[in-house]
Amino acid sequence: MPAKPRVAAEAGLDALTAELVRYYRAVGHGTVPAALLEAIGQRVGRALAERYTRDKPRMVEHLDVIKWTCKELWGEVFRKQVDSLRTNHRGTFVLKDNHFRWTRSISVDPGDLGAGAAATAATAAAAADHLHLPCAIIRGALQSLGVDCAVTADPSHLPAVDFTVVIAPPPTR
């Protein structure tokens, strides 16, 4: 990593990703075509992982790659570190970010707000569209580092978001 990285305003990236969701929602006539956002995100994740690990020794253990993701990838992309990491030691990891920055401005139409649980559901649904890109960035980075996996996000407890990484079982010989 260079000593003094070039910077840009976070507001610019926020505006770009928000417009991306709006654009693809329109393309999909109201439903975001997740596969297209995933294609965009995975390319970004791959490129980031390649750049950040260029001069470092290859990480062999899946756990090391996950830890790198929680600290360094999260630091660069989401401006903080993952707050807690849990695993079932059988290939599933849950990365919890208590204040996920990319969904911090998700607002819900006041007309949709009910009381308690219904309001949370509406906000979670609005947030889900905005989580395709981050999940794909994470997945792209992990895949590029040798961790074949699926990444999903649970926004039902905003501002916290739980990202679940399920590592594909090794191919049977």
């Binding site: 910077v7 505006a15 770009l16 970004v44």
Partner: protein, 171 residues
């Protein structure tokens, strides 16, 4: 203002442009969509700009262009542009952008020669100006990705609407 490593922005923007090329195939369509996306961003980013920029209301279009070049580009892309080549009635000028982080790592293949890679920026400027009641046209006249020596955005003032208040003074 909060900042991020510019790589994230450059890589995300590049990935979006690549996807649009795959989705739409036709470069004119891609340019058009980048402009629309930029416009939609500009109509929102203007609030961010006005909230954070320490500027007073512009007296004329020359001041407007200087604010875009010096304050706007600095705020969002951490660079400044130079305003050049004003026409006789001060309605058209060029914004020369030597350093553009959006094109870090970018090379255009032959097949994309009609692509205006940073067209989004033109849309942003157009949208932002619209929100302060200025209609303007905005396009790239020089582009380093096409082999030019620098990047230059051509800015053309077309009209200004009077500020309309949503209520009558005598109510």
């Amino acid at each position: 203002m909060e900042t991020i490593n510019s790589e994230i922005l450059s890589l995300t923007y590049g990935s979006i442009v690549r996807q649009l090329i795959t989705d739409l195939e036709d470069m004119d369509e891609v340019n058009k969509q980048l402009d629309v996306m930029g416009y939609n961003m500009g109509i929102r980013l203007i609030d961010e700009f006005l909230a954070n920029a320490r500027i007073t209301k512009c007296g004329d279009f020359k001041e407007t262009a200087e604010n875009i070049a010096k304050v706007g580009f600095k705020m969002f892309l951490n660079t400044t542009a130079t305003v050049v080549n004003w026409n006789a009635d001060n309605t058209e000028c060029g914004l020369v952008l030597e350093d553009n982080l959006l094109i870090d790592f970018v090379e255009l293949p032959e097949a994309c020669s009609k692509l205006s890679y940073c067209q989004l920026l033109c849309g942003v400027i157009r949208g932002a100006l619209e929100m302060v009641n200025i209609s303007a046209e905005c396009s790239f006249s020089r582009d380093t990705l096409h082999g030019d020596d620098t990047n230059e955005i051509h800015l053309k003032f077309t009209s200004q609407k009077a500020e309309a208040y949503p209520y009558k003074d005598d109510d």
